[in-house]
Symmetry: C2
Subunit: 215 residues, 2 copies
DNA sequence: TGTACATCAGTGAACGCGCGTTCACTGATGTAC
DNA sequence: TGTACATCAGTGAACGCGCGTTCACTGATGTAC
C-alpha cells in the first residue's frame, strides 16, 4: 500500500499539486475495498485518504464506478500474470503445473483480497467497461491455454473439451476461494487448508481423465 | 413477492396498524436485494415499499443487519429444503440423486437470486448471528449426508472422506453459480447451460472414484 | 536565459439528497372485571 | 355486555451525517519565442 509518487517518496503532500493523485486514489480505493468491500468505498473517502479535496478525484475518474473498474482491471492483470507464472508453460510437468495454477488462484484470493473483491464482488457491468471485459478475458485465457495442453495428453477418444475443463477448474477454485478463504455468512471452518482441498479436487478430477498418478 | 397479511389479503393498508409488517419488510428487503444487491438495500426504502413510516421497522428489527440476517436465515432454510427434496433420501439411485442435488443448487441460485445474494454476498458476520450460522449448517448438512452415502459406495480402500467430497461439490456448484449464473464483472458466456457444466463436472468427479457410468 | 502565456490539477464552498435513528405522540387492540 | 385501562404498533417531525457533484477560482507547471 505505498503510493509511489515520482517526486514524493512517501513523504506526504508537497504543495498544491499532488503529483500522482491517480495512483494514490487507486491505492486508497484498494485499502477501502479491502476493509469494507466494494460497496463500502466512496470517492469522498478515497479523496480524504489521499489527502485531497473531494472534488479532486473527478479530474481523474468520471465517477466511483470508473475508479472501481480501474482497480478491477489492474487486479485481473496481476491475476493473469500470477497464473501465467504458476503455469510456467507447463514446466516441469503439465499436470503438476496445472495444480500450481490452482494454488496460485487461491494464493491471489488470499493475499490480494481487495483486488479479488473488486474483480468478483463488485456489481460493475462488464459490458459498460470494455477494458474490464478484456482484462478478465486475458486472465481466463491463461487458464484455458493450460487446460488445452493438459487435455491434449488425454487419448483423443475420451478427451474432454478443454474449455469445459478450464471452466470446471475455475469454478472449483473460485468456489473454494469464495466460500472458505473470504468472509461470507456461509463460511465454514475447513478441516484442511483450502489449498489442499483444491489440490485434492483437481487431482481427483484429472484422475477421472486418466491423468495424474491415480495408480 | 406477495405479502401474506392475515386480515389484509393484498388489498393494501387498512388503517393505523399494518397487521403483518414484519413479513412485509422481509418481502420488501428481498425485492430490493434482488434489484440492487445486499449492499443496495436500506431500511428506509424497505419501509417505503411496505408503506409505513421510516421509524416503523425498528419495532421489528434492531437494524438493517438484523433484517438482512433474517432474510438470509430464511434463504438457507428454503435452500436446505430444496436440496433435501432433490436428494430424496438417495432415491431412486444414489449417484443420480447426488447429481440432482447439484441441479437443485443451481436452480436455487437462478430462481431465488435475492435469497442467494443475502446468503452468500452479504457482509454479515455469521458469528454475530448465531441463528444464521445454524441455518447455514442445516443446509450444508443435507449435502454432507448425501456425500456420505455416496462415498459409502466406494470400496473402503480408496474411499475419500465424505466431508471432503461434500466440500468439493459445494465449491464447484457455488463457483458455477457465482461465475456464470449471476452478474459479475468476470462473468462469461457459457457454451453450454450451467446445469450441464455442473453435471459434467460432478460426473467426472464421481468417475474418478469408480462411481458413475464411466463406461 | 528570461518572459508571457496557456494549460493543467488542484481548492473550497455550496447544493440537494437520502439515510439511520430518536422522540414524544396516538390510534387500535386486547383483556380484566 | 360494557367499561377502564394497559399494551402494542404505528406516526411524523426532527436531527446530524456523509455523499456525489458543480462551480468559479487559483496556484503550479510547462512551453514558445
Amino acid at each position: 500500500m505505498s503510493w509511489s509518487g515520482p517526486s514524493d517518496g512517501g513523504s506526504g503532500r508537497r504543495g498544491y499539486h499532488h503529483g500522482n493523485l491517480r495512483e494514490a486514489l487507486i491505492d486508497a480505493a484498494l485499502e477501502l475495498i479491502g476493509a469494507k468491500g466494494p460497496a463500502g468505498f466512496t470517492i469522498a473517502e478515497a479523496a480524504r485518504l489521499a489527502g485531497v479535496s473531494p472534488a479532486a478525484p473527478y479530474r481523474h475518474f468520471r465517477d466511483a464506478d470508473a475508479l472501481l473498474a480501474e482497480v478491477a482491471v489492474r487486479g485481473f492483470d496481476r491475476f493473469a500474470t500470477r497464473l501465467a507464472k504458476a503455469w510456467n508453460e507447463g514446466r516441469p510437468e503439465k499436470v503438476r503445473a496445472f495444480e500450481d495454477v490452482g494454488r496460485a488462484y487461491l494464493a491471489f484470493a488470499r493475499e490480494e483480497p481487495a483486488y479479488y473483491a473488486a474483480m468478483f464482488d463488485s456489481s460493475l457491468a462488464a459490458e459498460a467497461h470494455p477494458d474490464l471485459q478484456a482484462a478478465s478475458d486475458r486472465a481466463f485465457a491463461v487458464l484455458r491455454d493450460a487446460a488445452e495442453q493438459v487435455a491434449a495428453m488425454v487419448p483423443k477418444a475420451r478427451r474432454p473439451p478443454a474449455l469445459m475443463m478450464a471452466l470446471h477448474i475455475w469454478a472449483m477454485a473460485h468456489g473454494i476461494a469464495s466460500l472458505f478463504v473470504r468472509a461470507v455468512p456461509a463460511r465454514r471452518k475447513l478441516p484442511m487448508p483450502a489449498e489442499d482441498l483444491l489440490e485434492a479436487g483437481v487431482l481427483l478430477y484429472l484422475q477421472s481423465l486418466g491423468l495424474a498418478g491415480g495408480e
